[in-house]
Amino acid sequence: MKFVDFVCFEAIIPELQAKDRDGVIAELVSALEKAGRLKKPSREKIIKSMIERENEASTGIGKGIALPHVKYPGIEDVVAVIGQSSTGIDFSALDKQPVYSVILLISPVDNPDKHLQAMESVFKRLQQERFRKFLRQSRSAEEIEELLKEVDENPAL
């Protein structure tokens, strides 16, 4: 799966306003709603679900990245949005480090494979030091979009 297939470029937030975890989740989900990607389910309910999930187990996987996600009924296809914070957010990551890049995903309930395919793409990219670096350094939504499109075309960035 390529990033263009599931990342909503219009919703990308190059500098998050919120400074806390729950605020960031709300901000990103709202951005997706504004871009028209939520359709049926309510924004509030999704945010609540995601926060609940995050409380059970942090999605801060270390090295400044968090991958909050949830599967929700009514969602047709997996959609993701990226938000960055230059000051860092506390996601209770196990390495106790702040998170600078948040990749938020909302996936359909009845097609779990789609979620995994999107995760696989994310994992593959995160594995590459250069990708993480360029992502961190991106200052605008356009730059992030460019980066994602570029890695889609060149798997060996």
Binding site: I61, L94, E120, F123, Q127
Partner: protein, 579 residues
Amino acid sequence: MEIKKGIAASPGISIAKSLIIDSEDYLIPQRKITPSQRLTEIQRVRNAFKDAIDELTQFEAQQDQTEGSKIKDIFAVHLRFLRDRSLRKKITDLIHSELVTAEYGVSTVLREIAAHFSNQKDSYINERAADFYDIERRLLRQLLGRKREDIKHLSEEVAIIARELSPTQTAGFNKKFVKGLATDAGGRTSHTVIVARSLGIPAVVALEDLTEIVHGGDRVIIDGNRGIVIVNPDDETIQQYKKYSHEFSEFEHKLAAIREKPAETRDGTKITILGNIEFPDEAELVLQKGGEGIGLYRTEFLYLSVTTEPTEQQHYEAYAETVGVFKHRPVIIRTVDLGADKHTQSRRFAPEPNPFLGLRSIRFCLQNLMMFKTQLRAILRASLLGQVKIMFPLITNLQEMMQAKMILRDVMEDLDEESIPYNRNIEIGIMIETPSAALTASTLAQDVDFFSIGTNDLIQYTLAVDRGNELVSTLYSAADPAVLRLIRTVIQDAHKTQIDVAVCGEVASDPEYVMLLLGMGIRTISITPPMIPEVKQIIRSVTIEDCNAVARKVLGMNSERQISSYLRNAVRKILPEAF
């Protein structure tokens, strides 16, 4: 009769006919014959030529005109070669004058011709060298009696001889017919060793040139206790070995008697002995030998002897079978640890230059989530049938661990959605087998339920040694102070966080290391089933005090040699009969 010395890899004695497993690359050493053997060798050459001609004539006839005409041509040309008297004469002349074996003669002459071709400037002509290598192989196959595909159709007891054995090759071995293994390559913990021990058959490795000496069908004695292989033993030797074999199995029976007794030190400390298995049918063996569960269930076999990826149901059935044998006792299932082998390499269009340090094991799984989730689902479903735990291999950093746990969680949510039950509280552990994991164990310990120290890979990565490479296999040692220090760090970090820590590498099966491991704080080990009685015997013969003293002493030493001989002596005092 010829006696070859290698490394003792798996205990026991076998006396059987040899079956040589093919490998594509032969290196024939120069072996001298006596003048009286000349005629025999020359006749062998004639026979090999005749058989090769028959074989090729058959192949040629089988190729039909339309598609196979190019191939038919090649066979036709090779046939003319084989019929050429001057070729045969060159070989027999060489045997006659230089007193070498038929194999050496064939190999030398044909390679000379091949070399003559590869030296030609004209590219079309120099490519013909390959034809000569092909003819060489065909003749050598006749001479060395190697048959392909025979492993699947065994009908009599054999000892398998090979240059080395891959996991794929050994996956098909049937204990009923495979009575012993001997390889040219390999170190003390190579795959051959692991398989032999699991099957409970004797094995000797690192024999260097055994495959050049043995002819298919030769009788061989494999002495896995002393690391000796005897080719074409004389009657007297056979009698001696039969007697020795009898004595050795009596010793084993004695050990079997302690099956029911607990693995407790003399001063009452209980040690949990689990078994390492690869196939579901080895689970019985673990119980038989007195093991209390499975500490390492290697799941790669599901991928290795098949051509398509196993389905979730196939995974599930294998796990269910194993868990069924153990019911309430722990079964720790390790997710696939494939890597540096056919499965992961053939899927890439550009094979990795260094697969050993590449996309293998958990890393491979994290980038192949469809495959990973299939296994995870099966493990979760099987978790209802007993005390199943899940273990991730080759975790090198926190991120990998978190990603793996994240996917496990995602898969659990999917099962919830489908109303498929599983044990929500399944224990999750990781293998500590890299220096980075060992050095950051305190962080990793925060979010897992247990550690299992995989000493095989830990030693390889720490000492930068390939355990299967017989050129450096003596460098591979668990007694290296660097390795011991890392192990100690892991144990201490686990204790601080109060999580279980076990050792599941080959070192735990080694009688010489039992006291040391116990003294360093290990209370759970997972070992190869045949060694369970012997290790239990040692545990029952020591006190924790003794073990602590051994550990203190060893951790103060800084030479691998000093440490290994100290440990060897320490255990000999306790269990002299094992040696």
